[in-house]
Amino acid sequence: MQSLISALEVRDQIAAGTITATAATTATLDRIKRLDKTLHAYNSTFEESALQQAAAIDQARSAGQPLGPLAGVPFALKDNLCTTFGTTTCSSKMLQNFRSPYNATVVNKLQAAGAVIVGKTNLDEFAMGSSTENSAFGVTRNPWNTQCVPGGSSGGSAAATAAGLCYASVGSDTGGSIRQPASLCGIVGLKPTYGLVSRYGLVAFASSLDQIGPMTRTVADAALVLNVIAGHDALDSTSWPDPVPDYLHDLDVPLREVRIGLPAEFETEGTSPQVAQAVKAAVDFYKSQGARIVPVELPHMRYGIAAYYVIAPAEASSNLARYDGVHYGHRTAAPQDLYDLYAASRAEGFGPEVQRRIMLGTYALSSGYYDAYYVRAQQVRQLIKQDFDAAFKKCDFILGPTSPTAAFEIGSKSGDPLQMYLCDVFTVTCNIAGIPGMSIPCGFSTDGLPIGLQILGPTFSEARMLRLARQYESHHDWHKRQPPIQ
């Protein structure tokens, strides 16, 4: 079994001429052919255009032209990012044949950096879910145990990255959709501060919560990808205008006198003892490195899931109103009239979870209930944000579990929407407050399933957060373990 190397390493090898971009891409495509029948991490692959992009990189290198920071790196995109090549399906029947007339800003940036796009990865339909079981095209399997889910909604990106079906990927995170699958698949996942990465061309789910971020096998790769995708974009009016730092700079320099906050609220009954133990060991590591551990309070965290399941469906019901069977997407075969065209096309095109959230959001926004549900949830959102503001006066970062449990078996939660929603109990408040959060591997369960450590920080603290994560990674080898599927 060949050991998987990082995106940074393969990039450097290509730049040094040790291997060609074509060879790296061919090997990745071969691996996809061999393993993806089992995993189903990809909705689509681009063999021909990937090999063309790789050949162009090899040619540029032999001509002595400057190479981009991701030159020749086989890369995967979550299938809710618009691309002019292939389809952009959101794992929905609604968009099964949708071909975007434009690229998402992150896609343009990745391609300009030389990334070789090998395919687009599976997700819960329209990014709504925590297991990738809500995909209209079938579940993705966890490479550590194919009976288990990879997490979601960016489960395809997590599984592909963990199994070496790409060197790095980008996902989107609305309530945990990068961090939770990263945790369940044993990789690094970073949800940046709201506004750091342009959302232009990300198919909208809940616009005030959605954010695109890296999913990688190492912390340095997350910094490398963030360097490429972060920064202001005039095409996204919620994009933050300040310049961004070089996230690789000083990455290996440990933070000094860091204060780590441990909220009592993270100790919930639902957390498995093995997860709690792995997180505690990580905290002890930081303590041994000189970090000061401070107790902090997040008293409104317990209302996070409730507030999220008003705000996110409310925004989704509005965002998904555009799928009307007229402009693009699925259209019913024989509508009786215009109303029927809308209602039948939407009922046929959307799966059960998407319909459930549209219903919930429509109800929360409907006349007579708007104040009781939507306004109140937004007030609680304010309180959750103020909790974090107060906590980050006492500490630099907050540590805890990413997910209360390791990966669970396919089918074990899909019958009960509320149980599935509770998978995100530790991740949603980060989106609600707009702060950055990341998950890094911090151990394995006795069943051999990965466990993730979540780091939360104040807005725009990504550079320091990555250094904190790298400090842990450089003293542990969880990230070097490879899933049994080979």
Partner: protein, 107 residues
């Protein structure tokens, strides 16, 4: 003052909300959605316990307001590209089933 929500969505309400949301539910969908959404609403009801008096509703995480750009004409997508995903189109138009009663005539 807002209605005090009952935190239950009965089958009649499910049909009403589905109509607002433009979703054509089957008869089997209705009781299932009623049960599932009611159980979610009962969970969400805990928001009513929070004292939110005096706290402003937060719609957005960043203090970005009135993001403006110069009002300049720029090229947009060609019509053909805009229509490339349309399930049905004619010339430069999206087509839909007839909306106006043909017997009313025109002109």
């Amino acid at each position: 003052m807002a209605n005090a929500p009952s935190n239950l969505l009965d089958e009649k309400q499910v049909r009403h909300v589905a109509k607002l949301a433009r979703l054509k539910l089957t008869d089997a969908d209705v009781p299932r959605f009623s049960q599932q959404i009611s159980s979610i609403l009962q969970y969400i009801a805990q928001l009513q316990q929070v004292n939110t008096t005096g706290f402003e509703a937060m719609s957005h995480p960043l203090p970005l307001t009135n993001v403006l750009r110069a009002d300049e004409v720029k090229p947009s997508l060609p019509v053909q590209q805009v229509l490339q995903n349309a399930p049905s189109s004619e010339g430069p138009f999206f087509t839909v089933p007839q909306v106006l009663d043909a017997t009313l005539g025109g002109g």
